[in-house]
Symmetry: C2
Subunit: 323 residues, 2 copies
């Protein structure tokens, strides 16, 4: 029995003859290794749990690729679950993952300052928040400076001469990223001496489907915007589709800037101006940090990493020409 275990985990530790004997026996009873038993015995799953808000936004697919690549490189698996932007689901899923004995956790949640942070810190399982902008707190994090991202996106529009700049925002209640980007939007407006018109800020639930109503609300105001900052690329693309339905042209009538730079954004018409996040790298860093904490054991202190973003100017934004 012990020799079989040795054979499987480090064949070189067993004599060639025994090796052969075992190989045959394994063939014979077409034995299949039981990973669960191993996990049970070793208390190590070699698995990292991943919680994402949605599987339909490819930005999470891209970070997940980085994450998986890095995990695989170190012999770890990724167990991914999505919470559909629902904070109750987030807690439930984290509990599930913890019960399943994942060795570490990477997560993007509604509110990294909420109760979930304490739960995670108490659990003693290494965890890192992904995408959020954090500079403190008991749980590590890796992301970009979302506030500055929002500021940069809005500044680009202001630089083009726009004064009626709207924000089509993902609901703050379900995304602290959206809220931080909004903060940046506000700061830009006030820096530029532009008035923040509450009618020009619309929060919508996540999903292309909701862009319709959001854009409608924006464009039906007495004094509609000439530019829209959407808090992610998907919403920006949704907004462009809706503007087109209204007979409006992007960027001639309305400029649009997104956030994330998903691959699709350089293929749509017009190609989308956006803020690029280094998502693949973010995913990699997240597992590195988890593995690092795993190595250090208990006395690991939380780290907060902020990577650089970048404004990518394409065709969906243009300077405001007045008649």
């Amino acid at each position: 029995m012990a020799s079989v275990s040795r054979f499987i985990n480090s064949p070189e530790k067993v004599r060639a003859e025994t090796r052969e004997r075992i190989r045959l026996a394994i063939q014979e009873c077409n034995y299949r290794f039981n990973f669960v038993a191993k996990v049970f015995s070793t208390q190590r799953t070699q698995t990292i749990g991943l919680v994402i808000p949605t599987i339909t936004n490819t930005v999470f697919a891209d970070s997940t690729r980085g994450l998986q690549d890095e995990a695989t490189r170190h012999g770890y698996q990724v167990l991914m679950v999505n919470a559909d932007y629902d904070s109750a689901a987030e807690s439930r899923l984290v509990r599930h993952l913890l019960e399943r004995q994942v060795d570490g956790l990477v997560l993007t949640v509604s509110d990294p300052h909420g109760p979930i942070a304490r739960e995670l810190a108490d659990a003693g399982t290494p965890a890192v928040f992904l995408f959020s902008t954090l500079s403190e707190g008991p749980v590590s994090s890796v992301g970009i400076d979302n506030e500055r991202g929002g500021f940069d996106a809005t500044t680009h529009l202001a630089d083009l001469g726009h004064e009626r700049i709207a924000m089509l925002a993902g609901s703050f209640a379900t995304s602290d990223r959206s809220r931080h980007r909004y903060d940046g939007y506000c700061r830009c407006l006030s820096t530029r001496g532009l008035t923040l018109d509450p009618q020009l800020v619309v929060q919508i639930p996540y999903g292309l489907e909701y862009c319709r109503e959001g854009v409608l609300r924006l464009m039906q105001t007495a004094n509609p915007p000439t530019a829209i900052f959407a808090s992610n690329d998907l919403m920006a693309i949704g907004a462009m589709g809706e503007l087109r339905s209204l007979g409006l042209s992007v960027p001639r009538d309305v400029s649009v800037v997104g956030f994330d730079d998903v691959l699709m954004s350089s293929y749509v018409a017009p190609r989308l101006t956006t803020i690029r996040q280094p998502v693949y790298e973010m995913g990699r860093r997240a597992v590195q940090m988890v593995l690092d904490a795993l190595g250090r054991g208990e006395q690991s202190v939380p780290r907060h990493v902020i990577l650089n973003h970048e404004l990518v100017v394409r065709e969906s934004t243009a300077s405001l020409h007045r008649a």
Copy 2:
């Protein structure tokens, strides 16, 4: 010990007083349930393994949502892995999932007629192929009739008067769906008496990135096509982006039809004409079939379900006007 187990799994089977006693004890030692131990003991993970070819095509995100919703409804989890269109990875991942004792398997693989089918049938774990068109074989399946889908897409173009119809196909080696759609394309051409020009069929690896070269090859032929059938929406969108780069207008110069009807397709400009697959429903059906087989035990016979697809005509296709 046993009472604790009872308390956790069916609290009503234990007296209120004992319940309280246990609750306290649990608080006391801040006990966390060990799911792995349960799995080990019961030999049931309550988990369905899911193998998808890529996480970056939202069509798989959509089927996965159906799958997860249905799984959750029955108290099952989904363990998702992606194989990146690599058949070696597929086998490896299936083995991993089997070692992890998943109760059932849902998978989309390069070639459902390949060795993996035998492996699955031998494993004795219920499995169903998703997306592929199968009418026989030891492993159950649910999908649409991809050959007819390809036929319908091409017929739509032929109906519009196009005679030079190209196919931008995902590599056949990594997708039997692409191959079947191509078969339908060929059948339509021959039905219509159109010649099948090998120069008008280009296979590219999966990914938006590869569309560039594919479209280039197509449009640089002596007698370029006036219409392109892409074997999925992502490639169709990539193709439209590339055509635009070449100064060509869709659908004025070239008509484009895709396959899948991902949500994005109704938002891009021009809105994409495509073949809709009932992907959410497909995901649901797949887990139903797995659960069904799980219920029946060994004497379950493979079933092959083909759902209906539908041509959705939007703006990316137009009739051929000759000067």
